[in-house]
Structures are given as structure tokens and as C-alpha cells.
């Protein structure tokens, strides 16, 4: 890549490209406590999140995703899945908000979640923000759903 395209390096950081190529959290949680489909109607990106919660239903034990999308969308889902494992539901919902704030620029995650900060470069590319946030919107809907009932309704990112 020539230097003139250098700021693409901020967007497509090595971690993002690696996660796109070799995701670590693709698949389906077992058993499924929550299921949610997300869709970006303007580009056709789709994501299917499955979550395994603890018995009390207040702690995330496993997050898996399936779907098709661009490098940003897929890497974002993979990094999110990793960061959420072992988190309380309340904490996860706060992270959804934090991620959205990061996309607006300025805010970062604390060092314990620093891997998520590689997505910061997306904030410089406003049209791509919805790629990065699709998985987080879908997560929010999954956590707010009452049961493991498969919802036919998509979460739309528009």
C-alpha cells in the first residue's frame, strides 16, 4: 500500500485483518440462551449472535457469531465476543454504550479492554461506522430479549 493510502492503516489494523481472516469466535454457543439476528439493509451485511448465560441469566459465559460482512463488521464481532466473555449483563450493556461513544471519537476503552480500541480508526470513516456497530446493536437486542425464543425480527442498523 502506497503512503498516500496510509491512513487506511488506521482503519485496517493488523489485528482487524487477522480477525477477519481467522476469527476465533465464529460458531454457535452451546446451549443457546439468547439468539439474535442483525442486519444492515443498506449493504446486506448479516450477523447471527448466540449467547450462553449463567443460570441466573446475569452473566455472559460464551458469545459466538455467524454471518457475512466486511472486514470491519466481522472483526468487530470477533473482538466483541472475546471482550464479553465472563462479563455481567449490566457491564456488557455499558460497553455497548462505550463502543458507540468511541465511534463518535474521543472515548477509549480502559486497558482491560484495549483490544477493542483497534476499532477506533473506524471513527475517521463515518460511512463505515455502521459496519463496526452492527454486532453491538445486535448484542444489545439479544441481552434485552426476555428469553431464548428465536426472534424472527431482525435488528436493523439503520
Amino acid at each position: 500500500m502506497t503512503s498516500s493510502l496510509g491512513n487506511l492503516r488506521d482503519l485496517y489494523q493488523q489485528v482487524i485483518l487477522e480477525r477477519y481472516k481467522k476469527p476465533r469466535h465464529r460458531g454457535k454457543a452451546d446451549p443457546v440462551s439468547r439468539y439474535q439476528k442483525g442486519h444492515n439493509p443498506s449493504c446486506g451485511d448479516t450477523i447471527e449472535l448466540t449467547l450462553r448465560l449463567n443460570q441466573a441469566g446475569d452473566r455472559i459465559e460464551e458469545v459466538k457469531f455467524e454471518g457475512e460482512g466486511c472486514a470491519i463488521a466481522m472483526a468487530s464481532a470477533d473482538l466483541m465476543a472475546e471482550a464479553l466473555t465472563g462479563r455481567n449483563v449490566d457491564e456488557a450493556l455499558q460497553m455497548v454504550q462505550r463502543f458507540q461513544d468511541m465511534m463518535k471519537g474521543g472515548v477509549e476503552f480502559p486497558s482491560e479492554f484495549r483490544k477493542l480500541n483497534v476499532m477506533q480508526g473506524v471513527s475517521q470513516f463515518p460511512v463505515r461506522i455502521k459496519c463496526a456497530t452492527l454486532t453491538w446493536h445486535t448484542l444489545k437486542a439479544a441481552l434485552e430479549a426476555a428469553s431464548s425464543e428465536k426472534l424472527e425480527e431482525f435488528v436493523s442498523n439503520e
Binding site: 498516500s4 493510502l5 487506511l8 449493504c43 446486506g44 460482512g69 470513516f125
Partner: protein, 420 residues
């Protein structure tokens, strides 16, 4: 000979398009998203400005000079559009917001009141959503059945399959002239002839043909034809419907309001003659006049000339695309002269997602489209979640294609190094 040294068409017209002369991320803009919308020449921009600075008034309802000028301009644009598609009568041209509205007009004013349960509508799997959703509405309301023409192995209109779908139950065939994704040019004249043998009506979506090639509705013998102005150098907010006179006469009005009436009483009304019966409310006057200016501009260049030049570009585009590793194009390949398909290429590049491609190309100043191009069922049919698309117009040059290809190679290399 002067022919050999004559500069390509684009070099003569690029000065007419102010927007092309700018930099994006420090690189000269290469605009290759013409199938989504075209850029506008100075003549069209001036027509808008001139209208608002000199002639602005409402049409058809004033006796003062400005109203008369606005009406003359608006109706003059109708004459220009009628001549552009070779309509026998100016009454056969109805101004709409765009092609979608024109299709909805036919769906609501004709199909909803005509079709019976079990009647069949034939579409194709390659239709733009605008030529699909209105017929889904019609099918839901009337009980009519939708049938879909499939693709051949070369990803073109399957005429044999089309013939096998036709029957006495077929009441309507609504088909795109040129696919915005596959780029195939459908045999609309033959489609009309075949459909008419069964007494079916035919609507042609000419959005991707009207800007690029000569159109002759009498030769095609279609019952309706629709197009959007913004894809053919005109502003957004204006399009048109052509319909055969008797057919338009037989159709009830679509939208009600001012402009479309003759006598109005509190409990009933009689309607204006064509084409005003279908133009309720104050129309997009300036936009229609600007569409007239666009038609003048295109006609002065010559639609044949535009088509021939775009064929040359198409041949070059596909030749260059073949040089890029992992590229898979959709639709038919052009013939040796670049003919046989439209001047656009929808493609995928291995594992590189079209959105990622588009972002990288944008950094190089190249504007392409990435996504489903409003043909989701077609993408499903092709097994592609989304595609990238470069679409050309007569102001594009071989140099534009070179910049695009270089940036595309760079993007493929960039991701290729990751995927190894």
C-alpha cells in the same frame, strides 16, 4: 485522416461537468457510480438557475406572463422527452418523481383495478426492487401471481424460459431493459412481440438504457416505459412514464388533487385530459425543464455516439479487469467491440468484501458502488451477498479506468497479503 487523431468523446464533454474537476482525498475524482446517478452538465444547472431567476411561477393556472413562461417551459420539456423516446404523442408522456413512481402509477391505476385472482405477472429475477415491490403489492391485493424469468448460463435473460411462462393467464410482463447489476441488454422488442401474442401488456424499466442508447418506444412496441431523469444528466425528483394513448386513457387517475381535474363538485369530479390526469398537484417544474435541457444536451451529442463510445470503454474495462487476480464479473462478457452489454461491471474480488474495496478505492479518489444495488433477490440468485460495481458514462475516459484498475489491484494485493 482526422478520425484516427480525433479525441475521444469524453475529452470534449468533461468541461461541461464542473463536479468532475475536484480532488477526493488529494486525488482527482474518478466517478464510476453512474448507474446510481449521473453527474449534471452546466446546461442543466443553468436551466434550473435560469428558471428560478427569470420564469418561476405555477403552471397551467395563471394568465400572467411568468405563469405562461413556466407552462411553456414545462410543456416544452414534455415535447423533448416525447421526441427522445419517439413517442407518437406528447400526451403519452407523464412526468413523475422518478421511475419508481411511474411503476407505482401503473401498478395502482391499472393493475389494481384490472387484475383478477389467478392472473399472472411475469417479472425477472434481475429486477430492481422498484420493479418488484409494486407488483408484490398488486399480487397481495388482487390475488395475481408473480412468475420470474430465470437467467441463462451467461447470466442473461432466458428467453426460452420466458416463453414457457407465457400463457393466456399472463396479463402483464414487467421487465428491465438493461440490468443495473448484470449489465445485460434484454431483447425488449422480442419480449413485447411474444407477450402481445397472449394479449399481455408490457412495461419496460428503461432506467439503465435511456441514459446510454437511443430509445424508440414505437419500435419496441411496449405498452409502458419508465425512466428516471437523474440517471440521464437531469436533476433528482423528475422522471417519466410513457404509455400508449388508449391505455392511459382507459386507466383511472392515480393521485388526486389540483392540476388533474376538469370540473370539481363537492361530491365528485371529472378529470383532466392526458397527460394532466396523472399529474396531481404542482409538479416539479424546474426539474422537468432541466430534464428537457438534459435531453437537449444528450441529443446534441447523439445517443448513437454515446452508445458507441461507451462500448469502446466497456471493451477496455473488461480487458483491464481480466488482468486483476481473483476478480469475478457478473453478467455477459462484452463482444470484441465492447457491445452486447452495458458499460458497467459488477464484480467480486475473492475474499475481499465489496465495502472494504470501496473504502480503499475512495481513498484513491475512485467512486464505485458496493452493496446489493437494490437487486437483493438477484444477488441471492447469484450466490453473492454483495458486489462492487463500476459503472461508466460518456464523460469517463480510459485514464479513469486505469486509475480504477490500479487502485483495485492495490486493494486486492493489500488483502491478498493477509489471506496469503
Amino acid at each position: 485522416m482526422t478520425i484516427a487523431t480525433e479525441k475521444p468523446l469524453a475529452f470534449k464533454v468533461r468541461a461541461d461537468f464542473p463536479i468532475l474537476h475536484q480532488e477526493i482525498h488529494g486525488k482527482p475524482l474518478v466517478y464510476l457510480d453512474n448507474a446510481a446517478t449521473s453527474q449534471k452538465p452546466i446546461a442543466v444547472l443553468e436551466a434550473l438557475k435560469h428558471y428560478y431567476e427569470n420564469d418561476n411561477a405555477n403552471v397551467h393556472r395563471g394568465v400572467h406572463t411568468l405563469s405562461s413562461r413556466a407552462t411553456d417551459g414545462y410543456e416544452g420539456a414534455r415535447d423533448k422527452v416525447a421526441a427522445f423516446v419517439n413517442a407518437p404523442s406528447r400526451q403519452e408522456i407523464v412526468f413523475t418523481r422518478n421511475a419508481s413512481e411511474a411503476i407505482n402509477l401503473v401498478a395502482y391505476a391499472w393493475a389494481m383495478s384490472t387484475l383478477q385472482p389467478g392472473d399472472e405477472i411475469i417479472l425477472t429475477v434481475m429486477e430492481h426492487h422498484s420493479n418488484l415491490i409494486p407488483w408484490q403489492f398488486v399480487a397481495q391485493r388482487t390475488g395475481a401471481i408473480l412468475k420470474f424469468v430465470e437467467l441463462t448460463e451467461t447470466e442473461e435473460f432466458d428467453f426460452d424460459h420466458f416463453k414457457s411462462l407465457l400463457s393466456d393467464k399472463t396479463k402483464l410482463v414487467s421487465v428491465v431493459h438493461v440490468s443495473n447489476t448484470l449489465g445485460c441488454i434484454n431483447p425488449v422488442q422480442e419480449i413485447c412481440a411474444e407477450a402481445h401474442r397472449y394479449g399481455a401488456k408490457v412495461l419496460i424499466d428503461a432506467c439503465q438504457s435511456a441514459p446510454h442508447m437511443p430509445l424508440n418506444v414505437q419500435q419496441i412496441d411496449c405498452d409502458w416505459l419508465v425512466a428516471s431523469g437523474h440517471k440521464m444528466c437531469a436533476p433528482t425528483g423528475i422522471g417519466f412514464l410513457y404509455g400508449k394513448l388508449e391505455l392511459l386513457r382507459s386507466m383511472p387517475p392515480f393521485l388526486g388533487g389540483g392540476e388533474m381535474i376538469a370540473d370539481v363538485f363537492l361530491d365528485r369530479a371529472t378529470y383532466a385530459d392526458l397527460p394532466h390526469k396523472f399529474e396531481a398537484g404542482t409538479p416539479a417544474i424546474a426539474e422537468a425543464i432541466a430534464l428537457g435541457a438534459a435531453v437537449d444536451y444528450l441529443t446534441a451529442i447523439g445517443m448513437d455516439r454515446i452508445h458507441t463510445y461507451e462500448e469502446e470503454l466497456t471493451a477496455y474495462l473488461f480487458k483491464q479487469l481480466e488482468q486483476v487476480p481473483t476478480i469475478r464479473t457478473y453478467g455477459p462478457k462484452p463482444n470484441a467491440n465492447g457491445g452486447g452489454r452495458a458499460a458497467l461491471a459488477a464484480f467480486t474480488a475473492g475474499d475481499v468484501h465489496p465495502h472494504d474495496l470501496s473504502t480503499i478505492l475512495d481513498q484513491a479518489g475512485v467512486a464505485i458502488r458496493a452493496g446489493h444495488h437494490c437487486t437483493q433477490p438477484l444477488h441471492r440468485h447469484l450466490g453473492a451477498q454483495s458486489t462492487a460495481r463500476a459503472s461508466l458514462y460518456f464523460y469517463n475516459t480510459r485514464e479513469d479506468i486505469d486509475v480504477f484498475i490500479a487502485a483495485l489491484k492495490e486493494a486486492v494485493d493489500f488483502f491478498g497479503s493477509i489471506f496469503g
